[in-house]
Amino acid sequence: MNSSVIQHVEGRAIPVRGNDIDTDRIIPARYLRAITFDGLGEHAFEDDRKSNPDHPFDNPRYQGASILIANDNFGCGSSREHAPQALMRWGICAIVGESFAEIFLGNCTAMGVPCLTASTADIVKIQDAIEADPQREMAVDLKEKKMTFGDIEVNLQIAEGNRLQLIEGAWDATGMLLEGRGAVREVADKLPYVTGF
């Protein structure tokens, strides 16, 4: 099996509550002044953490967690890949939420970080359960589209194309897109703005 295949993610979970958490909050713009993604992990949610000493990213109970549980419209705003890069470098390997902003979800998928959704009721139930028992391991199964936490089992949704990319280890699209080189040329040659009007 190729090492890019992502069928299961297991680990402790961390709830980050709130709707419309934007990518400026996930990684403030001042940390985009760099030519690499190195070191972004320590700055994830930096301003939120400063204004809220109880922020889960600073709470010792959640250190070492790898599955982030978010609410609605997580990752809205800027297209900065620095946001999922910061989360991944902090230790996040998968995100389950009520819904995701589209560019953020695309960035996560292209990095091999699965984003899956569940109903509001299920997300709230899971967030409550994690807060009650943060040491318990969670399992996210992309093949079965299910998440289990203790005796709670929740159905998950994910776009089929993204799911296949992840479970087949094809989330890094470059190689796949390169294979279509000849067909790309044919399409380009039919576009009048490419060939000249």
Binding site: G18, N19, D20, D22, D24, R25, P28, A29, R30, L32, R33, A34, I35, T36, D48, K50, S51, D72, N73, C76, G77, S78, S79, R80, E81, P84, S99, A101, E102, I103, G106, N107, A110, M111, A159, E160, G161, N162, L164, Q165, E168, A170, D172, A173, T174, M176, L177, L178, G180, R181, A183, V184, V187, A188, L191, P192, Y193, V194, G196, F197
Partner: protein, 465 residues
Amino acid sequence: MGQSLFHKVWDAHAVRTLPSGQTQLFIGLHLIHEVTSPQAFDMLRERGLTIAYPERTFATVDHIVPTSDVARPFADEMAEDMMVAIEENAQQFGLSFFGLDDERQGIVHVIGPELGLTQPGMTIACGDSHTSTHGAYGAIAFGIGTSQVRDVLATQCLAMDPLKVRRIEVSGTLGDGVYAKDVILNVIRNLGVKGGTGYAYEYAGSAIEAMDMEARMSVCNMSIEGGARAGYVNPDQTTYDYLQGRTYAPSGEAFDRAVSWWRSMASDADADYDDVYHLDGSALEPTVTWGITPGQALFVSEKVPALTDLPDDERDVAAEAYDYMDLKPGRAISGMPIDVAFVGSCTNSRISDLREAARVVEGHKVADGVKALVVPGSKSVLKTAESEGLHHIFEDAGFEWRGAGCSMCLAMNPDKLQGREVCASSSNRNFKGRQGSPTGRTLLMSPAMVAAAAIAGEVIDVRAM
């Protein structure tokens, strides 16, 4: 049943169906800037890849550019490193680059259309969420992340799922003092900040058709603030007239052939849509955001809503906004004092925006204690504004007249809010901390409303000026 522009453009650029079921989509124009590209070039080098279609990528610098002193090296060493990286990458990979010493430099979404690079019927990608701006010309334009910038550089393609299309019909005529910015803020207010997820927005109707290209850009620009990754307006005579004579637009007989192709790509009269939404443009007032998402917007005559006025799923964020903005429900937004006034950003920094702001400012003075700045979107906009004497109007009133760049929209350069300052801003995002102070506060509005607020020292209805 006819087809929408979105589907025509998608079909013309679809290369093949990938094993994942997604579409391999050819990208006609790729724009890059200094923030989201350096890591993509590093990935190419690590993998030994070259650029598939270097003639289809254009680079400029905007986000980190200081708008007062652009002497090199920059005072900010990290910003200097980013400048050097894009200069070297453009040179190494043979890309067209509009750097700081080039007359064509400016905000990436301002210069694309200005140079005629942006054209109807194209697919466009850029590592910036406001790439939706280019849809004003009848292009399908996506914001992408850095890994996808790598994909476009290496293959000129993206792996994507098609979007649904929602037609947004804005009927009637906009009143005096009501602008494109007010239209899009109301679309987002009514449909929500995630209402457009999974959709491309097709803007249509008499109020959109009556807009010039720059106003259409302001509307399409903020599609992403409504959750829609792409937004567009069907090309028409206004579009063709704008493009004629631009540097990269076809000329002579080729221009006529281009127009017939562009026309053929517009949505058919009987096109099928996944959803249609109607907004009465005549009923709109100048609009201001009061909270921490662009959907938390009000007519200037309205009051900050109470939790009980809002749907259940908007209440938590509203409560967070009262606290962050230090505003109480029931308070009128008009009369809210401001500290900073910012005219600029890819939403509203074009010549028509500056003209409208100058018209409001002329003969007045900026209120005591207000810092006001005007930042043209490109060197070309700056030059045109100066040829019309707009800089004198602004400077005489007490505004600072700056060089081209993203400036105070996103705080990656020296222009930032301090502490709890309140900024009347013509930009696109009022997120917590967006303008550079973790506690700074942003009120989004049209450039004319920003100008009025600068003079009054508080939010005021520009129609009363």
